[in-house]
């Protein structure tokens, strides 16, 4: 069957090298306006760019993770256009000899696998930002972002639905995070995505494509593309023609709007950047970089499946992000079982993170702490309640769980002798519930267990309590 929708993406990924692509300035996000600038990135007359080899290596890692071929000979070109945020009035980019070409990524949507081809990956410098004054007609320029390295990734027109586009982007983000070459935060702009979309005409021909820009979240990409596909279908089914143009996604109105037509398209007058020399990527350099390639998501998933006795879902969750997977594996110390560590991470730790909108990097609990908690829980030293509460506490403020348990006397009471008096008390205080149980209403036992837990500040072993209550009643 022919695809109804054809989508190609152009993704800009900000590479998080310490310094910029062509000068030594810091790339740190959020500095005071124009604090991270120098004569080179400000384009002062007479200055010259010097290529940051680290950025080339980050680009190579990104390309390898997308299964691209790295080109041995690459060069940089000038893309000429006027805008105040572009201090040289040209962007140093790569035109006909990009860093890498011909890659592919497997994506899975609703259990169906598909391959998205990668046309090319090239390096280029970012532009600055215009800041418009609220009062007057002035605009100010912040050049901090100028010359921060970007990898532009262009897919082949292989994507067949807005949902698949979103899945591809999430997979791309996951890869870049695994490589630690980019944060891929769409809201902060460290991942930007433009799309080309066309739909099939009623005659079955592939229609004219439009370019969609200004999508600022993964959800936004999906919605914008769904809107644009519908719009084009409507135009075609009413006998109209789709015009080749660039359209902007309007997040508040949830529609795309015309930005510029093909006639107004820029002529960028690309030509080889004479201030830089062509770069040779020999096999030695390439293999050095290859050695830095970490285990990628698919490989980690396979290995976790093989090494740890976990459910598919748990494996998926743990390997979704590299820091989380690393946290999990670092917590596997001693003879604690992977399953209980995994349970604590997925049930408790992730809940605490979600509540705070934190990532694993923000939490104050260490993998060693979590391992200690898992061990105490496995050995019935603490109850599951105490365990959850301690995770919540340590996520926030950190600390040594063993010391805390000792200090606050939080050890679980599972000794029948210790529990006996409390059980007696609960039975005496709740004759109605005891009666209910005797007449077959089993749920009342839960109430009595709750009473036991309350009296022991959650330290009673609920299994032991249940067993004893059943015996006594």
């Amino acid at each position: 069957m022919k695809n109804e929708i054809v989508i190609g993406l152009e993704v800009h990924v900000q590479l998080k090298t310490k310094s910029k692509l062509f000068c030594g300035c810091s790339t740190e996000f959020g500095a005071d306006p124009n604090a991270n600038t120098c004569p080179v990135c400000m384009g002062w007359p007479g200055t010259l760019p010097v290529l940051n080899r680290r950025a080339v290596e980050f680009g190579m890692l990104a390309a390898l993770s997308l299964n691209c071929e790295i080109n041995q000979d690459i060069k940089f070109d000038r893309k000429n256009y006027f805008y105040p945020d572009l201090p040289k009035a040209y962007q140093i980019s790569q035109y006909d000899m990009p860093l890498a070409e011909e890659g592919q990524v497997e994506v899975e949507l609703d259990g169906e696998k598909a391959v998205v081809g990668i046309e090319r990956l090239h390096l280029e410098e970012d532009a600055g930002k215009l800041v418009h004054s609220t009062a007057g007609a002035e605009s100010y320029v912040d050049y901090n972002r100028t010359s921060v390295p970007l990898a532009e990734i262009v897919t082949k027109p292989d994507i067949t639905s807005p949902e698949q586009a979103e899945v591809f982007l999430r997979s791309l983000k996951q890869r870049m995070e695994y490589l630690e070459v980019s944060d891929c935060n769409m809201e902060e702009g460290s991942l930007r995505c433009d799309a080309n979309l066309s739909v099939r005409t009623p005659e079955g021909e592939l229609g004219t494509k439009t370019e969609v820009k200004n999508m600022n979240s993964f959800k936004g990409v999906r919605k914008a593309l769904a809107y644009e596909a519908q719009r084009q279908k409507k135009v075609l089914s009413s006998g109209g023609e789709v015009v080749q143009e660039t359209r902007l996604w309007d997040e508040s109105e949830q529609i795309t709007r015309e930005m510029r037509s093909k006639e107004e398209a820029h002529d960028y007058r690309y030509f080889p950047e004479p201030d830089l020399v062509p770069v040779k990527i020999d096999s030695k350099w390439q293999s050095e970089v290859k050695q830095c390639l970490p285990e990628m998501p698919e490989e980690k998933y396979e290995r976790f499946q093989a090494e740890y006795d976990l459910s598919d879902e748990a494996t998926q969750t743990l390997t979704a992000s590299r820091p989380l997977a690393d946290f999990f594996e670092r917590a596997l110390t001693g003879d604690v079982s992977p399953r209980s560590v995994s349970n604590l991470i997925i049930a408790d730790l992730k809940r605490e993170m979600n509540e705070r909108d934190w990532t694993i990097n923000d939490v104050n609990i260490t993998p060693e702490n979590l391992a200690a908690l898992a061990r105490m829980f496995e050995e019935d030293v603490i109850s599951s309640n105490v365990c959850s509460e301690l995770i919540a506490e340590l996520v926030e403020s950190g600390g040594d769980p063993e010391a805390i348990v000792e200090e606050r006397d939080l050890k679980q009471i599972s000794d029948a002798g210790e529990l006996e008096a409390i059980i007696d008390e609960v039975i005496n205080e709740n004759p109605d519930a005891v009666e209910d149980i005797r007449s077959g209403a089993d749920q009342a036992i839960g109430f009595l267990i709750g009473q036991v837990m309350q009296k022991t500040q959650g330290q009673a072993d609920p299994g032991q309590a249940r067993k004893m209550l059943q015996e006594r009643v």
Binding site: M42, W44, P45, L48, D267, F271, D275, V277
Partner: protein, 486 residues
């Protein structure tokens, strides 16, 4: 005393300074006095810092450890950045522009102890062959003030010829050091592309530009080249090759030397008197034991077209940054952002610069790129091969530097193509990235200097200095200042 002082070579000046025969103050005072007496007429400087230079002369310690130029006044072409000093490229669009950093080559001569007295005039953005397109007025030739000094480093050449400074730095994109040096009767050297860092040279055409010295003698050119050469991590196109002591190693050995004479550089368009004088220079070398051979540089005719395509293409991009947003004057009145760009650039650039920006924009435009820029790059490759083939038959090539001696002011400004022909004998070396030196060898019947050019293979600086020195000794021309009348 004054003329005498300023006719001395850098080496002689340095010796006299160290022997306390003269003081840096006397030297700078002589320079100021020459400037005051003559520059009203020739206008070789766009800025001259008398007071500050004198102050520096009082403070400078001229002992040898303080560098080979300690206490010696020098001038910079107005496109070489020096932190805090106006650097305008002879253009209104950079009026009052003070760079926040210093060019690597400028730093090198400062560290060698030089006292930079001011910035020399130039064709706007180095685009010209007569120094008539500067926004700060035209410069006159000290040998005949009705004539041009050549360009674009015309201010540097005129200042040296007039004896205001013993030496200056210029830049050469298609002949911009050699042609004005030839017209002004001084020595000019364009190093191998990449020999001198371009960091801090405000670009005209990045793949062709190279900084070099303008001096009265070959030895001085060797000394200055030695000082400004070397690898610079700030310039990716600079060569990572050791710098020999050119000056101390000058050793002319005409025996076993083969000098190539390219017919294409002597033919049509070259003034007969110029040809005779330069051929005599070749004969002088032969008399010393050198062998003369005919070589062919058949791409010479296409070179000038390729040069103007490549140079203007790069310039159109290099000069796009002058938009009034960050530095330089901005148009006072405009409608919107695009209009601000248009007005600022319309007011800021002169006619020749606009012409070249438009030409360069055109040759890079989609649909025309292959026919112009692409083809020009292919010609450039052929030119390089042409030189390589020639250098299999000879050690160096000897040619006239310019087709004619200095022409009259105003005689070519309205005919760009005629003006562009000035570069015909110099631009091919820039396209090939080769080193070339020019030196005056004789005067023509009008008493104007006529120069010979020596072109060598890549990094053959030492040989060029050796043979140019020999020619300087053999030729009738004696290094001197122009006989300006007060």
């Amino acid at each position: 005393m004054e003329t005498e002082l300023l006719d001395l070579s850098l080496n002689e000046l340095q010796n006299k300074l160290q022997n306390s025969e003269i003081s840096p103050v006397e030297l700078v005072e002589a320079s100021i006095s020459r400037y005051q007496n003559f520059d009203k007429e020739i206008n070789s400087f766009v800025s001259f810092n008398s007071k500050e230079s004198l102050q520096k002369a009082r403070e400078v310690d001229v002992s040898r450890e303080n560098g080979p130029l300690a206490g010696i006044p020098l001038a910079l072409k107005d496109n070489l950045c020096r932190a805090g000093y106006a650097t305008t490229c002879g253009s209104n669009i950079l009026e009052g522009h003070r760079p926040p950093y210093t060019a690597t080559a400028v730093k090198a001569i400062e560290e060698a102890g030089a006292i930079i007295v001011g910035n020399a005039n130039m064709d706007e953005f180095a685009m010209g062959s007569s120094t008539e397109t500067s926004a700060y007025g035209l410069t006159r030739n000290p040998w005949d003030t009705e004539r041009v000094p050549g360009g674009s480093s015309g201010g540097s050449a005129a200042a040296v010829a007039a004896g205001i400074v013993p030496a200056a730095l210029g830049s050469d994109t298609g002949g911009s050091i050699r042609q004005p040096a030839a017209f002004s009767g001084v020595v000019g050297f364009k190093p191998t592309y990449g020999r001198v860092s371009r960091y801090g040279l405000i670009a005209f055409a990045s793949s062709l530009d190279q900084i070099g010295p303008i001096t009265r003698t070959v030895e001085d050119a060797a000394l200055l080249t030695e000082i400004i050469s070397g690898h610079d991590p700030a310039d990716s196109t600079s060569l990572d090759q050791p710098v020999p002591e050119y000056h101390g190693n000058i050793n002319p050995k005409p025996e076993n030397l083969t000098v190539g004479i390219p017919a294409e550089y002597f033919g049509e368009g070259v003034d007969e008197e110029v040809e005779t004088i330069v051929r005599q220079a070749a004969s002088d070398l032969k008399a010393e034991g050198a062998e003369l051979v005919d070589v062919s540089l058949s791409t010479t005719e296409q070179a000038i077209s390729a040069y103007y395509v490549i140079a203007t293409a790069e310039a159109s991009s290099n000069l796009a940054r002058f938009d009034g947003v960050r530095y330089g004057p901005r148009a006072q009145e405009f409608e919107d952002m695009i209009d601000m760009y248009s007005q600022t650039r319309a007011e800021g650039f002169g006619a020749e610069v606009k012409r070249r920006i438009m030409l360069g924009t055109f040759v890079l435009s989609s649909g025309y790129y292959e026919a112009y820029y692409g083809k020009a790059q292919k010609v450039r490759t052929l030119i390089k091969r042409d030189f390589e083939n020639a250098f299999e038959k000879c050690d160096l090539i000897l040619t006239p530097t310019t087709p004619t001696a200095a022409f009259k002011l105003g005689s070519r400004v309205d005919d760009p193509v005629q003006m562009y022909m000035n570069d015909v004998l110099t631009a091919p070396t820039n396209l090939a990235g080769l080193p070339a030196i020019t030196l005056p060898v004789d005067a023509n019947s009008d008493g104007l200097p006529v120069a010979a050019q020596l072109i060598g293979p890549s990094l053959s600086e030492q040989m060029l200095f050796d043979i140019a020195y020999l020619l300087q000794e053999l030729s009738p021309w004696e290094p001197c200042s122009a006989p300006l009348k007060e």
